[in-house]
Symmetry: C3
Subunit: 285 residues, 3 copies
Amino acid sequence: MTETVKKSILVFQTDFTFKEGAVASMYGVVKSVDHNLEIITATHEIPQFDTWSASFRLNQYMKFWPKGTVFVSVVDPGVGTHRRASVALTKSGYYIVTPDNGSLTHISKTEKISAIREIDEKVNRLKGMGTERTSIFHGRDLFAYCAAKLASGKITFEEVGPEYPVKAIVTHPISKPEISGKKVKGIFEIKDPNFGNVWTNIPLSMFTEAGFKYGDYLQVKIFNNDKLIFSEKVLFHKSFGFAEKGEPIIYNNEQMNIGLAVSMGSFSSRYNIDYGNNWNVEVTK
Amino acid sequence: MTETVKKSILVFQTDFTFKEGAVASMYGVVKSVDHNLEIITATHEIPQFDTWSASFRLNQYMKFWPKGTVFVSVVDPGVGTHRRASVALTKSGYYIVTPDNGSLTHISKTEKISAIREIDEKVNRLKGMGTERTSIFHGRDLFAYCAAKLASGKITFEEVGPEYPVKAIVTHPISKPEISGKKVKGIFEIKDPNFGNVWTNIPLSMFTEAGFKYGDYLQVKIFNNDKLIFSEKVLFHKSFGFAEKGEPIIYNNEQMNIGLAVSMGSFSSRYNIDYGNNWNVEVTK
Amino acid sequence: MTETVKKSILVFQTDFTFKEGAVASMYGVVKSVDHNLEIITATHEIPQFDTWSASFRLNQYMKFWPKGTVFVSVVDPGVGTHRRASVALTKSGYYIVTPDNGSLTHISKTEKISAIREIDEKVNRLKGMGTERTSIFHGRDLFAYCAAKLASGKITFEEVGPEYPVKAIVTHPISKPEISGKKVKGIFEIKDPNFGNVWTNIPLSMFTEAGFKYGDYLQVKIFNNDKLIFSEKVLFHKSFGFAEKGEPIIYNNEQMNIGLAVSMGSFSSRYNIDYGNNWNVEVTK
């Protein structure tokens, strides 16, 4: 048995969808750099221009991948204007190739970033095929190309381009969850556009500290800015199926944070709930 | 030339979509178990919670894959409640890693299942990374992880967990097609949500037995429960293009069963047709 | 280090979506022909029956792939009727496995096709598993199967089937862009159904010839047949972010052609714009 050399896997996320030829162009560039590189689609359905979601998703799945994996994240409303095109290296050993536009917010706080470099366009940008004079597809010309060179070992991290301070990374502000006695407060940090579950930034540990137990009915209040949107007693339990079909449930999600769902339904659609710092949640007994 | 060792391919189907980070989390778990495993996306767009469709789709495409392929099917409305998490081995040599909730219905009848085992969570569940206390993502923590171990040879089928009787597998009831003289009856078993074709459970052989030939105009009646929804003479032919654009056609589908379509249009949308045991079709000359 | 033998990559585009089992069936056929073949999804979301878009997309991304890549394009409204099932070889060394129904239009003009052969169904069609009597899924039974044999080296290009003249290839007529003095005219050749950008067939070089410069406000008129749909002064610049959020912009796209977009919005939705020879654009200073 002969094992082939392990190359780093390239994992892609963008807001391009598969509806046009952008993804196929990027993947072709990767295979032209190195035929043996493996490409995995994480998602091409990040909500358009939503660097907050890009940041959240990277943080959601990154830790499940082998160390050394190269993540390419292209949600890039500012393409061709002044924002840095960068490669970050996390303390845990992952690479993230991305515009530095907020997409590194969550990872900066959890995995921590040990160094970041701005991609040197002079050496790490695709050449030829008439691509030099376009400014609108860095996903293909810069991010995919540079990531492929890095993953295949054709360049080192140092050869990406000049380092800049980790402190200079662009991040979104995110409210912190709070506990005071038996009251827990947080925000909706993200929703699942498919099943309609919404996830707070409140860790399960705060629920435990507040004395909330599976089987309890908890008073949940949701505010959009200061406007009360939802106020109900909701069953706290370990999975959707413990609620009756069509009933809401408050549960511990796969990231050990508190989520809200409707059993066999969509919480976000039924109650018209979205996410961000202006979506506040308050839970008491 | 050195051939690399062939590992089993992992083929995934779920109702998760690519709209959030669940798929990327599952695939990361697989690659962390064994960097060399190949992952193929069958679909992540099974209709939500629809274990009938999960069952139908597995049966539609499974036989075209190499023996030994490991299929991971996660349509799991009952996640975290009492239903078995299982690995089935078919007589033809495929593995199916799935909640035992109806998703094995069709395969039980066609490929036949030679043995089934319940996944032992104590040994075949992902450990660490804070995953132990969540009950809502068996796709990642149990199914993907166990499937990767099986496909990579880290565990044998016997080591999945305790065997239970094939007879105990949960299946959906499915009406059988019938022929009496020149009249053929069946149900709509599935639709294609893209092109809008609807497929009956009536085999081509029954049409042949009834004396129906390509070029015939057949009387088609469709009932939802007892309510007549559609009653027209429809051209029976071998492909869509034999009907005028916009006209319905009755044809022999890729599984040698009878389907209904509109040429360059959608049968299910135009006539508001769905599928299941309560969608009955009757064909005469 | 032992390199494995490089096999040709198979790149798929269809209008099937992932909503049913067709893609998984095709991919299974490929892996059954040769377990080591690599499959990449370009897109399964070409607009239904739209062979013009299939043609455009192939041409958009093909040149970024390694020579020898085998592209499988199945947008096939005429499946099972009389149209050729073919394999084209481009001058640049790519293979395209496709119904000869217009999908080769753009490639015929850019990469040029050096030879084309009709697939011989007697030797290069999937056998067994009850597939012989169906006429509606050439994507699986003919295109995927034949492409896999070709990519794996089991057949040569000559063994695909009989050659026919390149001149006989079915192509769509496409209007040509024109320049007269300071006026440039063309058509909308395609749109991005995701971001809503629309792309003309006008090359950047015509804009340069007409003296248009980044920063200019250009008079853009759009006609659907003879009806004026849009007439505004639009900023010409190198990327979306140079326009105010919500404002239109005219720019040089990733193929060195002129496109129209709305910054952080959708040009095609806002102005109700589509593509084809009857969508005319006229640009002056």
